[in-house]
């Protein structure tokens, strides 16, 4: 056996360690974000809140794409379904927001299962095509079915939830509510990817044929990964509607789905913290680049392109590489 092969093989799978660090980062991040809006004003707080909501949608897509290796081009459509379901239920039917939130998740989960079925027959690109068609369908539905969705005029006056008698109408109060919900959803995902299910999802991504030969029910896991990812899109929508208080079809178009996909990749697909970084690039960076005016899209695109050329694993991959370089730089005291 050659020496270099042994050296590279003995390198520990640092990703698992990184994931435990990720838990700490999640909790710390939530604590910081709880207080962050102090002095940022209404608009600054709104941008931070929007970042969290987008992070939830990107988290779901990261499960589908990053962990289970299935390409979905409909995450914004699922977000739209969640947003409209919540808006219609709470404004027209006076349903409690929490029930509407749960129903939005359930609805998108079930549609995810149904959409996933045709994709099982063929390879992964097929799911991309199915979701592409679905994305267009939902957008047309939102725009044309005026009696239900209000068409291009959208739905206005969406109420914010009440938390145990505490009104969340203020920007800061709702922001803190979002921090709590995002943390819970992120922790649930952290639990999921560390469970045997997460291992099966990754096996699906890396080698579905081998996984099946080891007893992994690849159909069930493919459907579950896609449905859970879609439900996160629904949850994000259910939070988006009361955040902006007015929704129309435009933020749920196909181009927005592609943008969410870009956030997964730029943040680092298959990394727990990747979605937060990706959504930061997608939501907050445009705000910082406001001074550049109409040039902002070009600057944004160049940054993402450069990132992907340097490191296809996104910002998280870059960070992991840096961490490993640092470790290698240290004198190897513990090496055998």
């Amino acid at each position: 056996m050659s020496a270099p092969a042994t050296a590279s093989a003995a390198r520990p799978a640092s990703r698992s360690r990184l994931r435990d660090g990720a838990l700490l980062a999640l909790v710390l991040g939530a604590a910081i974000l709880w207080f962050a809006p102090a002095g940022m004003g209404r608009y600054g707080t709104y941008v931070l809140s929007l970042w969290l909501v987008m992070s939830i949608a990107v988290m779901g897509l990261n499960l589908t794409l990053g962990y289970a290796g299935q390409t979905s081009l409909a995450q914004a459509a699922f977000m739209g379904l969640g947003a409209y379901a919540t808006a219609i239920l709470t404004t027209t039917y006076g349903v409690n927001w929490y029930a509407a939130f749960a129903l939005s998740g359930l609805l998108t989960f079930c549609i995810g299962i149904l959409l996933g079925f045709p994709a099982l027959r063929v390879r992964t690109h097929y799911l991309a095509f199915v979701t592409l068609a679905f994305s267009t369908l939902i957008w047309l539905l939102l725009r044309n079915e005026q009696w239900l969705t209000g068409g291009v005029f959208g739905i206005a006056n969406i109420k914010r939830p009440v938390f145990f008698g505490l009104r969340l109408d203020g920007a800061l109060a709702f922001h803190r509510f979002l921090v709590a919900v995002t943390l819970i959803l992120a922790l649930a995902l952290w639990w999921l990817v560390r469970s045997p299910w997460g291992r099966a999802f990754m096996a699906l991504r890396e080698n579905p044929v081998r996984a099946a030969s080891l007893g992994v029910d690849t159909r069930a896991y493919t459907l579950l990964a896609f449905a859970i990812g879609s439900a996160y899109g629904g949850f994000a929508g259910a939070l988006y509607a009361p955040l902006v208080e007015f929704i129309d079809p435009s933020p749920f178009s196909l181009s927005q789905s592609l943008f969410l996909l870009l956030m997964v990749v730029a943040g680092g697909s298959g990394y727990l913290l990747g979605p937060f970084i990706g959504a930061l690039l997608g939501v907050v960076l445009p705000e910082w680049l406001r001074f550049a005016g109409s040039l902002y899209l070009i600057i944004f695109a160049s940054i993402v392109l450069m990132l992907l050329i340097i490191c296809p694993q996104g910002v998280s991959g870059l960070a992991e590489r840096g961490w490993q370089a640092l470790r290698r730089g240290r004198p190897a005291g513990g090496a055998p």
């Binding site: 003995a10 990703r15 469970s195 045997p196 299910w197 291992r199 890396e206 080891l214 007893g215 029910d217």
Partner: protein, 247 residues
């Protein structure tokens, strides 16, 4: 005693090409059966048909007398049939330990039970045992993709045995493995066969490996069975010498 595996008149055609053309054989409990034959004679296609990866054109496969033809690979695996592949098939981004736990977890409890149960599905200890047994001890936490070819081959075999299968189909386990490791592998296979009574079917090109490991050998040529017998009988068969060994 009824055979563990019974293959009856199996056919598989790809358009006009008959890759497997009426193969029948059975495997007794605890046996190590070898399948040899020149390249392209249909060995791997035969495996894929038995294991539900390909749909046979005709014929049946029985496990313990039960018809399992066209059963999905994952379902067949949970009935205790395991396999290795001709080309390397490990999960490169997972560690050696995670690869092994994955190989066993679907045999434990229900789907929901696995979601809320232990993270390692209670398999850490079993994984450590397999790692020790296949001499991968120093590599437990290494990513499988970083292992040498021979080490990955051992891991691949270890994964096939993780859930304690009754029947294991090995597709060229010796291919590309150096002599020392080959000896190790043979010794491990013999031990599992003797101690756990696991039944093996082995496809192999390495004659010494097959002849010293298997108690019975089947020779395939152009999708048909050419000969069957003990290694010595097969070696002496003129038709076999002409089709295969003579080249």
């Amino acid at each position: 005693m009824s055979p563990v595996l019974e293959v009856h008149e199996l056919h598989k055609a790809f358009g006009g090409i008959k890759a497997v053309n009426g193969v029948s054989f059975s495997v007794r409990e605890g046996e190590i059966l070898g399948i040899i034959g020149p390249n392209g004679c249909g060995k791997s296609t035969l495996f894929n048909c038995i294991l539900g990866q390909l749909e046979p054109t005709q014929g049946s496969v029985k496990l313990d007398g039960r018809d399992v033809t066209n059963l999905r690979p994952s379902a067949l695996n949970r009935l205790g049939v395991s396999r290795t592949f001709q080309l390397l098939q490990v999960f490169p981004e997972l560690s050696v330990r995670e690869n092994l736990i994955l190989a066993g977890q679907e045999h434990q409890g229900s789907m929901l039970g696995r979601l809320f149960g232990a993270r390692d599905a209670g398999l850490s200890e079993k994984a450590e045992q397999m790692i020790g047994f296949f001499k991968l001890g120093h590599l437990t936490d290494a990513k499988a993709g970083g292992l040498s070819y021979g080490q990955q081959k051992l891991l691949d075999a270890a994964m096939a045995f993780m859930a304690g299968p009754r029947l294991v189909l090995l597709d060229e386990p010796a291919g590309g493995v150096n002599l020392t490791m080959l000896g190790d592998l043979k010794e491990r296979l013999r031990a599992i066969n003797a101690e756990q009574g696991a039944t093996f079917v082995v496809i192999e090109h390495n004659m010494d490996f097959v002849m010293s490991l298997c108690s019975r050998v089947i020779v395939l040529a152009e999708g048909r069975m050419l000969a069957e017998g003990t290694p010595a009988e097969v070696r002496a068969n003129p038709a076999v010498i002409e089709a295969y060994l003579g080249h």
